[in-house]
């Protein structure tokens, strides 16, 4: 359970160093994406002027204030509250994010599924778990909204954040087939019978007749 300080962009070799339950703190640049961003990129053939190779993306759609562009607010947006949304809805976009755009780190909450795990293994990437619903804290790790693309999708634009000490985040899915979510899911499923027995399910008159 090592801790890693990483500055984006990262290399495949750096990703192969990470194992589940390690922690990571990120520096540099972080891109914000969400459902509509990826639907437009991968289903509707739109493109971005950003180079995401080796970068980290976070499943988000921030609360922002529109302001006059300036040195402090180069994109014309002030960050108010940046948090993380449930990743599972965006499962099918992990592979194109990595294969087509070169993304190596996905930050989200609640986890992703089998195909994402396979993509992390084949292409060299990880899923970092952030604590969902802790946006006030997360917002203190965002220094600036540096740029924005596909802004007609606002708030589901493609956001470019400058970050400082973003984390610690937990490696919850690694490039070796490890997934904390899968471990917990299998374990919870195994406890189902015990939970139902504690509720007396299956011990009523009906169950006896069936037996």
């Amino acid at each position: 359970m090592a801790h890693h300080e990483l500055t984006t962009p990262v290399s495949e070799a750096q990703m192969r160093q990470l194992r589940i339950d390690d922690t990571v703190t990120l520096q540099g640049t972080l891109y914000g994406i969400r459902d509509a961003t990826q639907i437009h990129l991968f289903d509707r053939g739109r493109t971005t002027r950003f180079d995401l190779r080796g970068h980290a993306v976070i499943h988000t759609a921030p609360n922002v204030r529109k302001v006059e562009p300036s040195a402090a607010f180069p994109a014309g947006y002030e960050s108010i509250c940046v948090g993380t949304t449930t990743s599972d809805r965006m499962e099918r976009f992990t592979r194109p994010l990595m294969a087509q755009l070169g993304v190596r780190i996905i930050i989200g909450k609640g986890g992703l599924r089998e195909d994402s795990l396979a993509a992390f293994g084949e292409l060299g990437g990880v899923y970092l778990a952030i604590i969902g619903g802790t946006a006030a804290l997360e917002s203190t790790w965002i220094e600036q909204i540096e740029d924005v693309d596909l802004d007609d999708l606002n708030p589901e634009s493609l956001w470019k954040f400058r970050i400082r000490d973003f984390g610690p985040l937990r490696v919850a899915m690694d490039s070796y087939g490890g997934s904390l979510y899968e471990t917990v899911r299998v374990d919870a499923q195994a406890r189902r019978a015990q939970a139902l027995a504690s509720l007396g399910v299956g011990v009523g008159a009906n169950a006896e007749k069936k037996a």
């Binding site: 993380t84 909450k109 609640g110 804290l137 917002s139 937990r170 917990v184 899911r185 406890r191 939970a195």
Partner: protein, 291 residues
């Protein structure tokens, strides 16, 4: 007591912003309780981060969660209260829209087919406004709930049949919690609707999920089931954020209604750990804010 509509508009705006920033004391107490009983180190660290976030939100006057949710306003009108009902609905809607523009807040509301966002947190049928009545004299309450989508996306209805009995209700709740995993931002409040028609059953589940922690089902059988189900759910080991642990749920809340001789409906609606709500009470002495 006559209700002043500009004051309602102001309260509707204020309530949305307050709800997003200050967690009710019963939810904070819920975190304390879970922290005392949690045995998994990872879960302890997740809970600690959530508690830190509550403090950071208050210190920085920021929102607890980025998700501004679907805005829900529950209005309860007491006796000897006079208000123009239609104008009341419009005033709440204006307040919701003003909160979005004036704070500003992310509008999370889109047309369901075109997905167009009007950037007002309003749309067809949204904000959701429920009107109810009470026997309290000269009291008028507005409760505001920004319902987060991560938990709302895990909403379930089963039209079970009488032959399946109460076992169907118990099994359904357990299977819903397993299906939701970490997607609902656990620890959650698991709202269970039992009985009624299909639509009433789902509405009961939502009412149950948004009840304060520590409240108990007014029906004795329902109350008994609440305790049993909480113990069972927390045996599953889903844990905070689905990363494992004892703290899968703060509570299981049940709301019930009578149902048909041929029916046995059960619905589940979950509230995430950022179980936000705020309340404004109008009385002859003025407006007071609370939870």
């Amino acid at each position: 007591m006559n209700i002043d509509l500009p004051a309602v508009e102001e309260a509707a705006k204020e309530l949305y912003i307050r709800a997003l920033k200050i967690l009710p004391p019963d939810i904070k107490a819920g975190f304390t309780k879970l922290t005392e009983s949690e045995t998994a180190p990872t879960a302890q660290s997740v809970l600690a981060t959530m508690v830190t976030n509550i403090q950071v939100a208050e210190d920085t006057e920021n929102m607890l969660c980025q998700d501004t949710g679907l805005p829900i306003y529950n209005v309860t009108i007491g006796r000897n209260v006079s208000v123009d009902g239609h104008a009341l609905m419009l005033a709440i809607r204006r307040g919701c829209e003003r909160a979005t523009h004036e704070h500003p807040l992310r509008s999370s509301v889109v047309h369901p087919i075109t997905r167009k966002n009007e950037h007002s947190s309003c749309g067809a049928g949204v904000p959701v406004i429920h009107i109810d009545f009470s026997d309290a004299d000269e009291v008028f309450d507005i409760e505001m709930i920004p319902k987060g989508s991560g938990s709302e996306n895990n909403s379930f209805l089963k039209m079970a049949i009488p032959a399946e009995g109460v076992d169907a209700i118990k099994t359904f709740v357990i299977d819903c919690v397993l299906a939701a995993g970490g997607k609902t931002c656990p620890p959650t409040i698991i709202g269970v609707g039992v009985g009624g028609t299909s639509d009433l059953c789902v509405a009961l589940a939502k009412r149950a999920a948004t009840r304060p922690l520590g409240s108990v089902c007014s029906d004795a059988e329902g109350a008994k089931l609440e305790t049993q189900l909480l113990k069972a759910v927390n045996l599953l080991g889903v844990g905070p954020q689905g990363l494992g642990g004892d703290s899968t749920a703060f509570a299981v809340h049940i709301e019930l209604a009578a149902t048909h001789i041929t029916m046995n409906p059960v619905a589940v609606n979950m509230q995430c750990h950022s179980a936000r709500r705020a309340r404004a009470r109008f009385s002859p002495s003025g407006v007071t804010y609370g939870f």
